[in-house]
């Protein structure tokens, strides 16, 4: 595993050098074209400053920005126990220092990504579409692929390379726009004939470079990010010991036609499959952020004999049809490679897929702050977070239901000892909520904050995230 990281580090470094050179050249040419005598230095400085600021922002806030763009919401274990379990399994398999934070994105397109600059503060986000479509082994495959990105230090690379690419794109874009509106006037007003000619040449060179630079940078960036997808696949196989899980997950992802319209190409390499499929399909292999999904499946399916990196390398070479070289030699000298495991017993809810879809929709509503209430006539009501009123009329039986709150009960003597510490901060009283159904349920804490109880909730008390008060659930 370490060989992979060091190889990745070398390649990342090379990429940064080349991309940095492109960026600074661009800055120089633009500066030289606008301010003929010695504007080049000024241009370089400007480009470096823009890049520095963007890098700093993405280093410290990259993950939260990314999660925000994707519209991801953090979930707890109770919201989706299976997803949480799978993430924990991969944490153990990959010996990560901490369990990554788990996020859900409200999108029917099956996809997933990982973010966070270090393994210590990594996050994994999956779409609700992924949760409805995948079985346990497939979900594990997808999470393992994302864990592979975390282990191989791809996230830091993609963040920084993405920022560099973004800077190049922005700088040349500003220049080209400026050219369209004011460039010719500025050029015409130059007085000295000689200087004008020099500036004109400079201008043309800058123009050509400004058009070419983003393309060059993109090709470079995408070439390396494609390679990393294969590496993450290889790591996923190593972690799960079950290539078929990831293969059939990719198959299902390829079969879906939904797009994630809010995503763009700069952050696409973080996803397991290109989130903007329609655009990717039309373009050639060169400008794609991900290797063709069919090829990834073919490699995974032709892995034979074991689940080590060597086996993946062999399958890779076989599918590519030449001596394609993916992994460094030292990573391949691995003894005692474990053999693949068998499929795990599939834990499905046994219901129809429609029922699972409803479960996932409820889950998303809960995550988005909806309130759940069951009327005495049995109708389940889902109340949007901006509803605003304290009570709601049941649309079926017209009964007015109040949003339940906790009851304050004097602490009973039975709880002496065990509940002593809880009681103290509640001032001799404890808040109690009596559960009504086994499904999603909501109630208001004394401070007014709504608390969601998931169907998987099995504890005896819950802590309010707003005021910190512990409510007993009976």
């Amino acid at each position: 595993m370490w060989e992979l990281i060091s190889q990745n580090k070398r390649r990342s470094f090379m990429l940064f050098v080349v991309m940095g050179a492109i960026l600074l050249t661009l800055g120089y040419l633009i500066g030289a074209a606008y301010l003929p005598p010695d504007g080049g230095v000024f241009g370089i400085l400007l480009a470096a400053i823009v890049w520095g600021i963007m890098s700093a922002v993405s280093y410290f806030n990259g993950d939260s920005v990314m999660l925000k763009i994707a519209g991801a919401t953090e979930i707890t274990r109770e919201v989706h126990p299976q997803l949480y379990n799978v993430v924990e399994e991969m944490k153990i398999a990959g010996s990560l220092p901490r369990v990554p934070k788990v996020y859900i994105i409200d999108s029917s397109a099956p996809n997933a990504f990982a973010t966070g600059r270090k393994a210590e503060n990594a996050s994994i986000a999956v779409t609700s579409g992924l949760l409805t479509k995948m079985n346990r082994d497939e979900l594990q495959g997808v999470v393992a692929h994302e864990t592979g990105h975390i282990l191989n230090r791809d996230i830091l690379f993609i963040t920084f390379a993405g920022v560099m690419l973004g800077t190049i794109v922005i700088v040349s874009d500003i220049f080209l726009r400026g050219m369209r509106f004011g460039g010719s006037r500025r050029f015409g007003s130059s007085k000295s004939k000689n200087g004008g000619q020099g500036a004109a040449i400079m201008l043309i060179v800058a123009l050509v470079f400004a058009i070419l630079a983003p393309i060059m940078a993109q090709l470079l960036y995408f070439a390396i990010s494609r390679r990393r997808e294969y590496l993450a696949d290889a790591t996923a196989v190593r972690l799960t010991r079950y290539p078929e899980g990831l293969a059939s997950a990719l198959e299902k992802i390829a079969a879906s036609t939904e797009d994630m319209p809010r995503m763009n190409k700069a952050i696409a390499p973080l996803f397991i499959a290109n989130p903007v499929k329609a655009a990717g399909a039309r373009m050639s292999n060169l400008t794609s952020t991900h290797p063709p999904i069919t090829e990834r499946i073919a490699i995974l399916r032709s892995i034979a004999g074991g689940i080590g990196y060597l086996n993946y390398q062999q399958a890779f070479a076989k599918t590519k049809g030449n001596n394609a070289h993916l992994l460094p030699k030292s990573a391949l000298e691995e003894k005692d490679v474990p053999s693949p495991r068998t499929a795990s017993a599939d834990v499905t809810t046994g219901d129809s897929p429609i029922a699972t879809k409803r479960d996932i929709n409820d889950l998303l509503r809960a995550v988005n702050g909806f309130l759940f209430m069951t009327c005495s006539c049995g109708l389940k009501m889902k109340i949007p977070p901006d509803f605003g009123k304290e009570s709601i009329k049941c649309p079926r039986c017209n009964q007015v239901n109040k949003i339940p709150t906790t009851e304050l009960v004097a602490a009973s003597a039975v709880l002496e000892g065990i509940g002593a510490s809880n009681r103290k901060d509640a001032g001799g009283e404890e808040a109690v909520y009596h559960r009504q159904t086994k499904g999603w349920e909501s109630f208001k804490c004394i401070c007014g904050r709504a608390i969601q109880l998931s169907p998987a909730f099995a504890g005896e008390s819950i802590k309010c995230s707003n005021c910190g008060r512990v409510t007993q659930v009976r």
Binding site: Q82, N85, I92, A93, R136, L239, D336, A345, V347, T349
Partner: protein
Amino acid sequence: MLIILVLLVLIVVVAAWLIGLYNGLVGLRNAVKNAWAQIDVQLKRRHDLIPNLVETAKGYVKHERETLENITNARSRAMGADSVGEKAKAESALSGAISKFMLVVENYPDLKANQNFLALQEELTSTENKIAFSRQAYNDQVMLYNNKIQMFPSNIVAGMFNFQPSEFFEIENEAERQTPKVDFS
């Protein structure tokens, strides 16, 4: 004078080197212990889940009393095991008993529709996976440690301070396939 000085420097260097080797061995031994603790956490979790599973399933699978008893017995045997080898054997027998039960469950749609049971089944599946993954991590660690103990020059230090090689957590295929035989009298 010079000879004494050279000798002194030599002694200091050798001592530092030996201390380094010794500390390295201790570090590895602790890593093995830590990896073992990780497996133990998951094994305990499984032991905790089983009574719940049996309790939930009992009402539905009246004709599978034997299968359930097998699980319960394998569990208590695994909890009583002492050495690593013994434990591995007992735990894999328990794995076998559980997976046999999971096959049986397919014939009981009512049980499969029980929300409580489904939650337990997910927890058990995940715990089985976690056991497998942490076992792999443990064995990797043991190999590193044992290699160090047996290879020159660290084997000298290991012999001096009595570092014992650790046992691998091996799953015997036979044990995994076999379910323990239990008398009902």
